[in-house]
């Protein structure tokens, strides 16, 4: 089975489940609105995740957007992780090293497949700014169809992968 053919599937501009969403260069970003999960299921998932990942703190519990939707689509829709590279390029993000990371920069994760990102989050706290270590970072990210959590950089489900890159859109003159 070619799983790449299942990238969000619908979500094209003509899909009624998508919203107008594009990169800074005007390229349409495929996206999909998604149904909410049953609240009792969401709650059960939260409790299960909290048992497995000690550092996580829940910010919001909904399934209508994913990690990419949280970062690039104002929490409105699901956007496939396969389009992250295109967005970074079109939106003029630059890759930065760990010691350059500031609050507001983004972190990208990879799991089994080294060619695509599996997860994305926003760094929201650094206990030791300017440090080359990555242990001090607190990240906000959306876990698939479950909650939006604040967590230590790599205190995430193995399915989401490990943090591999940091990127920033910040500009200074």
């Amino acid at each position: 089975m070619d799983e790449n053919r299942l990238l969000i599937g619908g979500g094209s501009e003509s899909d009624r489940r998508s919203i107008p969403l594009s990169t800074k260069k005007g390229e349409f970003i495929p996206n999909e609105k998604r149904l909410e999960k049953n609240p009792s299921q969401l709650k059960a998932s939260e409790q299960i995740h909290k048992k497995s990942y000690s550092s996580i703190r829940l910010r919001s519990l909904t399934s209508t957007y994913n990690c990419v939707g949280m970062v690039f689509a104002s929490r409105r829709v699901w956007v496939d992780t396969g389009v992250i590279s295109q967005i970074l390029k079109d939106d003029e993000y630059k890759r930065i090293s760990a010691d350059e990371v500031q609050v507001g920069d983004i972190v990208l994760y990879r799991n089994w497949d080294p060619t695509v990102y599996s997860h994305i989050g926003i760094v929201i706290e650094r206990e030791k700014p300017g440090s080359a270590s990555i242990e001090d970072m607190i990240v906000l990210s959306k876990w698939g169809q479950d909650g939006e959590y604040l967590h230590r950089l790599n205190d995430v489900s193995p399915m989401l992968g490990q943090a591999v890159e940091f990127w920033s859109e910040k500009k200074s003159f």
């Binding site: 053919r5 149904l35 299960i48 399934s63 992780t81 169809q145 995430v156 399915m159």
Partner: protein, 226 residues
């Protein structure tokens, strides 16, 4: 672990939660493949391919379960797993399952996989009448499964009521399976069906009778497919 215990395990909140963190289909499938329970299920069916029918039936049962339409179908991930697994072992069955699952409006991953399998298998459009060529041995196995497993009278009555079959004397369980695909305009080779019914169900029986040996059907012949 036997297959029923594996089913329950795969359908548990904990198992679903572990997989529901996936943000894309690649990650979901990689996660599924990495799970020990999935490997166990694969090995069981690999040893005894007939279990793919049980897997199929389990999936159909989940697909037909009444769920709250306001929310995402709670069985979205188990259905994705079952459909994928059925497709690995039995393309004939996965075609049917894909049709059933694609019809569930509030699934997400399972719908996508179903559409993919339908497209891959070049199944005709939903509104057209199609006759799928199912080996008779497979139908017999499915019938046997229903005879052995769907014996609960209340379950049968619920089914009969739900499908507006007003009167009946005797129902052979295979009708359950045949009827499943009726709305899609698909008729399996029906085998022996013997019960009295009224209204739509009666028409269906006549039609099944006429088409007993899997004779071709067309949209023009029967308005119900339009």
């Amino acid at each position: 672990m036997n297959i029923n215990k594996l089913f329950r395990s795969i359908e548990s909140s904990g198992f679903i939660a572990e997989l529901s963190v996936a943000s894309d289909f690649r990650t979901l499938m990689n996660g599924i493949k990495s799970k020990h329970k999935i490997k166990e299920l694969f090995d069981l069916i690999d040893e005894n391919n007939e279990l793919s029918v049980e897997l199929f039936v389990r999936a159909v049962g989940l697909a037909r379960e009444q769920v709250d339409d306001r929310y995402l179908n709670r069985w979205d991930i188990p259905l994705t797993i079952y459909l994928w697994m059925v497709d690995l072992f039995n393309k004939n069955l996965s075609k049917f399952l894909a049709i059933v699952i694609d019809d569930i409006k509030n699934c997400f991953w399972a719908n996508k996989l179903a559409r993919y399998i339908k497209t891959s298998n070049e199944i005709e459009s939903e509104s057209a009448g199609v006759l799928l060529d199912v080996p008779i041995e497979l139908i017999e196995k499915i019938e046997e499964y229903f005879e052995n497993n769907i014996k609960n009278e209340q379950q049968l009555k619920n089914y009969v009521t739900y499908n507006n079959i007003d009167a009946y004397e005797e129902i052979y369980y295979p009708i359950f399976f045949n009827d499943l695909f009726w709305d899609k305009g698909i008729i399996l080779k029906p085998g022996k069906i013997n019960f009295h019914a009224t209204g739509d169900a009666e028409e269906r029986l006549d039609l099944l009778d006429e088409k007993e040996n899997g004779i071709d059907i067309s949209t023009q012949d029967y308005g119900v497919f339009a």
